[in-house]
């Protein structure tokens, strides 16, 4: 009896070891890269950079210098504004596309190819498209001249390179609406239409069906897709760099400029910027998830 128990124990231990071994490679890569970046980033922003001859760890001066500048807060606001505006617009547009896609219509197969194109190509392509459409000499400006609204490119309302950021938001929306649509459409396919139909039979109107049945069903898809695109938008670099309004830039661009400054001690301030981005993003994402948990509990799911 005792030996059987030990055998069982040995087997279990062996199995657990096997599980660990299979998880190890992926874990190692992420821990090394993530952990390394995290530790070094935080240490450096706190004044640990012996390779520059700077070592005043722990030292809050870089954060104080960064957070003491009014331009930092303007950058932070711009970063948040672009990210939130684009996420909300993409979410609404994407959900509407997904709701239409579950219906039957002609050329649906073709449409399912077409709408995914932005998912397949880099953001830089979207930026090029924004330049050719929205620039002062762009297509929309030309069409406005054609219909007689303006007669000089300078009369065209500035869309790119302003702090309103319409160009940046347009690029994000162009790229992310298909992503939201695809995610939500997949969830809709998974849950099927039976509950919606049941609600309709029981007398719910279209509005009630959407808000009381469909929306709670697609909530997990909404949460995961918004988390992904919002985090991306916070850390995006190329669109604000090319289409942004210049000083004050969004935080990733600010960090990059500090990092490439000839004065290499500014790199520590750049690292403080990076840590600030990470702090802000994790704070927002964490509270977003916490609110979602409460919502799930309220509707009786966990």
């Amino acid at each position: 009896m005792a030996s059987r128990k030990t055998n069982e124990l040995v087997r279990m231990r062996k199995e657990r070891w096997l599980v660990m071994m299979q998880l190890l490679p992926v874990m190692l890569v992420l821990v090394l890269l993530f952990g390394g970046a995290l530790v070094l980033g935080v240490a450096q922003s706190l004044g640990f950079a012996p390779w520059f001859g700077v070592n005043t760890f722990p030292d809050l001066t870089y954060f104080k210098a960064l957070w003491g500048e009014p331009s930092f807060w303007r950058s932070l606001w711009l970063t948040l504004y672009y990210a939130i505006a684009a996420t909300v617009i993409s979410l609404v547009l994407g959900i509407l596309v997904a709701l239409a896609l579950v219906r039957r219509f002609r050329s649906k197969t073709l449409y399912k190819y077409l709408y995914k194109l932005p998912l397949m190509i880099p953001y830089t392509v979207g930026i090029a498209l924004a330049v050719i459409m929205l620039g002062n000499g762009g297509m929309i400006s030309r069409f406005m001249e054609f219909v007689g609204l303006i007669d000089d490119p300078s009369q065209f309302p500035q869309i790119l390179k302003t702090h309103m950021g319409w160009g940046i938001i347009a690029v994000y929306v162009w790229k992310q609406t298909p992503f939201v649509a695809l995610t939500i459409y997949a969830v809709l396919l998974g849950v099927g239409r039976e509950t919606e139909e049941a609600a309709a039979i029981l007398g719910a109107n279209k509005r009630q069906v959407f808000f009381l049945v469909t929306l709670p069903q697609i909530m997990p898809g909404i949460i995961s897709s918004t988390l992904i695109i919002f985090a991306f938008n916070i850390g995006a670099f190329e669109a604000p760099f090319i289409l942004g309004g210049g000083f004050p830039d969004t935080l990733p661009v600010v960090a990059w400029r500090y990092f490439n400054d000839a004065d290499y001690t500014l790199q520590l301030q750049g690292m403080a910027t990076v840590v600030s981005i990470a702090l802000m993003a994790s704070g927002i994402l964490y509270s977003y998830l916490a609110i979602y948990r409460r919502y799930e509990r309220r509707i009786g799911r966990h």
Binding site: R16, L23, P25, V26, M27, V29, L30, L33, F34, A37, L40, G41, L93, A100, R103, R104, F105, Y113, Y115, L117, M120, P122, T124, V125, I127, A128, L129, A130, V131, I132, M133, G135, M139, E145, P153, W174, L182, A186, G190, E197, I201, P220, G221, S225, L227, I228, A231, F232, G235, A236, E238, I242, L251, P252, A255, F259, G270, I277, A281, S282
Partner: protein, 288 residues
Amino acid sequence: MARRTESTTALGDRLSPFQKLYLWLIAGFILGPFIPLIVQSFAFRWAWPDLLPSTWWLEQREESIVPLAWDYVFSPYSQVWEATVNTVFIGCVVTVICLIICLPAARVLARESFRGKAAFEFFLSMPLIVPEAAIGIALLMIFIYVGLAGTYTGIIIVHLIPTIPYMIRMLTAVYQGLGRDFEEQAMILGASRWQVLRLVTLPMLLPGVIAGALFTFLVSTNIFLLTFFMGQGKIITLPTLLFSKISGGTLDASAAGITLVVTLPGIILLLITERFIKEEAFGKGFGN
């Protein structure tokens, strides 16, 4: 019964006119801008406010000493070929490495339950929700220090970060759908672990593995920021090449041509992935 059919049709299975219009608008928003882009790539002179170029590339190409528009794109000066080779090479290596390290983990995640599984799953999706700029700049410091910045190895390593979550999710979904009956039968019939893997598991996994690999390749070819940071300008890929052409905020004929070239792999992958990646599988990966 009559009431039921009535209600089902009342809920609607077909598109409403508003939805039809909406889908047209979205298609126009997504694809419309490509039309002036194509026109621009063939233009030589296209002044404001002309709706079409006044002089085309083909009219000018004999008279010019330097290569114009598409001639430039296909000439070695544009570095398009070099960037394409780099992009494909990096994408392939990243896909293979990612597949090798994710397959065992996905198997465990789909089938075993162990302490800390939820935490581990959350950890694996971290790369999706940590801003790229934060990771990129911090890693660049380390990579400069250890001499990996500006090397293929460095770029391939950082490309693993955003690709792992997608690969894990897609492979886990595949394993979950697979069930373990066939493997157990093979084992009962006396197959070794290796034989089971080679003769049973892998063939059944293959469609899912192809889907995951294509998706990983796609993600890798689209990465700009990490390549831009780690490449240090020494290694260019299609997204970074395009960035350098349009970073001034203007778009000439050759930049338009390069934009179209950069779009091309996406179109090819779209045609392939549509066959392999089903919406349902994607939903399993991201719906929860």
